[in-house]
Amino acid sequence: MSFSELMPLLPMITLAVASAIMVLLIAFCRSHNVAGFFSALSLILALFFTLNMNALAPQEVTALFYVDKYAVFYVALILVCSLIVIMLSWLYPGLKSAVQPELFVLIMVATLGASGMVCSKHFVSFFLSLETLSVAAYVLIAYLRVGRAYEAGIKYLVLASVSSAFLLLGIGLVYFELGTLDIGHLSELMARHQGMSLFVTAGLAMILVGVGFKLAVVPFHMWAPDIYQGAPAPVTAFIATVSKGAVFAFALRYLSVATNHEYGKLSLVISLIAIASMFGGNLLALLQRNVKRLLAYSSIAHAGYVLVAFQASGEMALQAVAYYLVVYFLSTLTAFGVITVLSNEQYEAENISQFEGLAWKHPLLAAIFTVAIFSLAGIPLTAGFVGKFYVLSAGIRSELWPLVFSLIASTAVGIYYYLRVVVTMYHLPGREAEASESRLCLSPIGCAVLSVLGLAVLYLGIYPARLMEIISQAMSGLI
C-alpha cells in the first residue's frame, strides 16, 4: 500500500495530524483563542482537501473505506458543521472564562470519527469510527463539569455503550451466518440464502437498535432531552448535527442492502419507528418550557421526517434526505448558535422566559432565531420548507400515504410549540418592564456568524436550485 492510495482520505488524515499537533500545542500554550483558531484552520484545510477527494472519487481505499461522491458530500457537510460548532464553542462564554482548550481537540477527534463513518464500507471501520465519535462525545457532554453536565455525560456513556453492545452483537450474528464483514458483499450473500435466516434477522434487528439509538428515534430516544439539556450549547449542536448526520449517511447507503430481499419486512419496522418518532417528538415537545429540551424533542421528530424519505425509493429519496439534512443542520446550528450567544458565564439561555421580549431588546438576534424556528417548523421563505417539500415529494412519489399523512398531522401539532417560542420573543413589554428594558450587548462576531447562518437558511429557502444541483450530482453515482 503506497501513500498515494491513501490520498482520498486526506481530509481525515489532516484532522488526525492536526489533533495530534494540537495536543502538543495545548501543553505549551493554554489559550482559548489560539486553540480555537488552530482548530478552525485545520478544519478549513480539511475542507479544502475534500476537493482533492472529490477529484479522485470514486475509489476504494483499502478494504475498509470506499470514497465516492456521496461520501465526499457528507464529509464536506460534516466538516462545515464542525467548523460552525468550533466557532460557536469559541464564542461560548462558559468556556472562554474557563480556558480549557482541550474541547477543540475533542471536537476534531469526533469529527474525524464522523467523517470516517461516512466513508466506511466495512463493519470494522464503521464500528471504529462510531466509537471514535462516541468516546469523544462522552467527554464533550460532561465537559463543563457541573452537576447537570455530569449526569448527561454518564447517561450518554451508559446508554451509548449498551447500544454499541447491541451493535457488536448484531454484527457478530450477521458475520456468523454470512461469513463477511464487508458490507458491500452482504447483499449478494443475503440474496443467495433461501428464506430468512434467524441469525441474520436477529443481527439486522440489533444493528437497527444500535443505529436507532444514535439517531434518537422513538423508542430509543430517551437520552436525547437530558443530554441536549445538560451539554453546553455548542456541544449539543454538535451531537444534534454531526453525530446524527454521519449515522444517517451511513445507514442510508446500506439500507437498500438490508431491505432489498426477504428482509424487506424490516422496512415495516422502520416505517413504524418513523411514525412513532414524528408523533412522539412533536407531542412531547408541546409540554417543554426549556428551549434546549424542546429542540431535543423537535430533533426526534425531524429524525422521523428523514426516515420518511428513507422509506421512499429511488434517487429522489437520496436527494431528499441529503437536502433535508443540510437544512436541518443549518437551522439547528443557527438555533443553538443563538442560545450560545445569549448565554453568559454562569447560565445558559435555555428557559423560554429568557427569550421574552427579545425582539425588542435585540432585534437582529430575534430575527435570526425566528428564521431558524420557522425553518424547523417548515414554513415557506425558509430552507425548512423546501426540505419538507422534498421529503413529501419523495414520500408521495413512492405512494407512502400513511407516512405522508402522519408527517402532515405531526407537523401541524409541531407548529404550536415552535410558534410559542416565537410569540414569546415578540411579547410586548409591559409598562413596568419598559423602564428596565435595556438593549443587550452581545459579541459582534457572534452576531455576524449567526447572520450568515440565518441568511443561508433564507437563501436555501428562496433559491434552492443550486444546492439541489450539487446534491443530485453527488447522489447520482449511488444508484
Binding site: F389, M468, E469
Partner: protein, 493 residues
Amino acid sequence: MILVWFILIPVIAGILAWVVAKWSHSLTRWISLFAVLAAFVLSVSVWIGSLGLLKDSALNTWLFMFEKAWIPQFGVSFFLAMDGLSLLMVVLTLFLGVIAIGCSWTEIKEKVGFYYFNLLWAVGGIVGVFLALDLFLFYFFWEMMLIPMYFLIAIWGHEHRVYAAIKFFIFTQACSLLLLIAILALYFLNYQKTGIYTFNYLLLLQNPVAGEIAFWLMLGFFIAFAVKLPAFPLHTWLPDAHTEAPTAGSVLLAGILLKTGAYGIFRFVIPLFPLAAVEFAPWASLIGVIGIIYGAVLAFAQTDLKRLVAYTSVSHLGFVLLGAFTFNEWAFQGAIMQMVCHGLSTGGLFFLVGLMYERIHTRDMEEMGGFWKIAPRLSGVGLFFSFASLGLPGLGNFVGEFLILLGSFQKNVPLTAVAALGVVAATIYSLWIVQKAFHGETKPLKLADLSVREMSLAAVMIVTLVWLGVYPQPLFDTTRMVVKSILSLEGLL
C-alpha cells in the same frame, strides 16, 4: 414585468418603512401609504386600460404573463399571470391595503416600523396569491401571507391575541399541508401521464385528472380553501382571529384574506377537477347554506360588536360558496360581486368598530348606546355599512346576493329558499347593531366624532359600494370572460 411590481412595491416599501422607523414614525406611515397608493393607482390604470380588451376578446385570455425559471429540477417557475378575476382581486387588495394603512394611522403606537413591515408584506403576499399561476409559487405566497398576518395579530392584537394568533396559524397551516399533498399528487400524476415535471397551472389544466383520485385531490384543495373562506365546520378560527386582531388586521383578514379561499375555488378547484367538483357540488352548496344560517344565528347572539361582525363574515361567505358551486353565469358573477362587496362592507364595519374601540375602549354592545346624538357622522357611516351588510338594494351586496340566489334557484329550489332566510337574518342582526349602538339610551361615554382622515376613508368605501350597487356593469365586464371560460369546461353544464 408589471405583475412583479405589484408584489415588489409593497415588499420593498415594507423593508424601507421598517428601516426609517428608527428616525421617524410619520415617515414610515407616509412611505407605506404612498407605496400602496402607488400600487393601487397602477392597478386601476391597468384595469381601465384593459377594460376594452376584457370585453371583447376570445375565451381565456390572459392580460399579462411573466415567467422565469426558479427551481428547474422540480419544474418550478416564477410564473405570474393576470386575467379579469385576478385583476379585480388585486385592485380590491390594494384598495383595502390603503384603507388598512389609513386606519392604523393613530391606532398603532408601539413598534411602528415592524407593524408597517408586516402590513405591507401581508399585502404583497396576498397580491402574490392572486397572481401566481405556478402551483408551487402559489403555495409559497399562500403561506407567505400568513406569517405577517400572524405577527399582526400576535403583537398588536387585543387581550387574547396569542391564543387567537396561534389558533389561526395552526388551522390554516394544517389545512394548507393538505393542499400541499394534493398539489404534489397532482404533479406526479401529471408526470406519469406526460413525462414532464411541472407545476405550471396552464399545463396541468391541459391534462385533467380522471377517476376517483380526482375527487380526493379536489377535496384536498377544497378543504384548504374552505378553511380560509371559512366554510362551516372549519370556521372556528375566524371569530377569534378577527376579534383579537388590530383594526387593520381585521380589515385585511375579512376584506381579502378570506377572498383568497373563494379565489382558490374559482381558480383551482373547479377548473382543475370539473367533474369531481360537479359531483361534490350538492355537498358544497349545503355547507354554504349551513354557513349562511349558522353564521347569522351566531352573529345575533353576540354582545361583542367585533365578534358579531366576524360571524357575519361566515354568513356572507356562505353565499359565495353557494354561488361558486352553482355553475351558472348568474351565480358565478354574483359570487365574485359578493366577494368584492363583502370586502368593502365588512372592511368598513371593522374599521368603524376599531374607531369606536380606540375612543371608548370597549367592544361590548351593552355599554354602547345613543351614539347618534354625540357622534352623528360616525353613526351615519355605521348605519350605511350595516345597511350594506344586510343587502339593501342600491348597494353592492344586494347585487351579489340577488344574483347568487337567482342562479341557485335554477339548480336547487329548497336550498335557495333556506339560503334566502339568511338575508332576513342579516336584516335582523344589522338593525340590531344600529339599534344597540347608535340609538337607545345615551350612555355617558366620551366619543369624539370622525376626523377628516377617518371620514374620507369611510367616504371612499361608501362611494364604491354605491357605485357597485347602481352600476355594477364594469365589474361584470371584467370577469365575464373568466366566468365563461370556467363554464365552458367539459362536464360543467
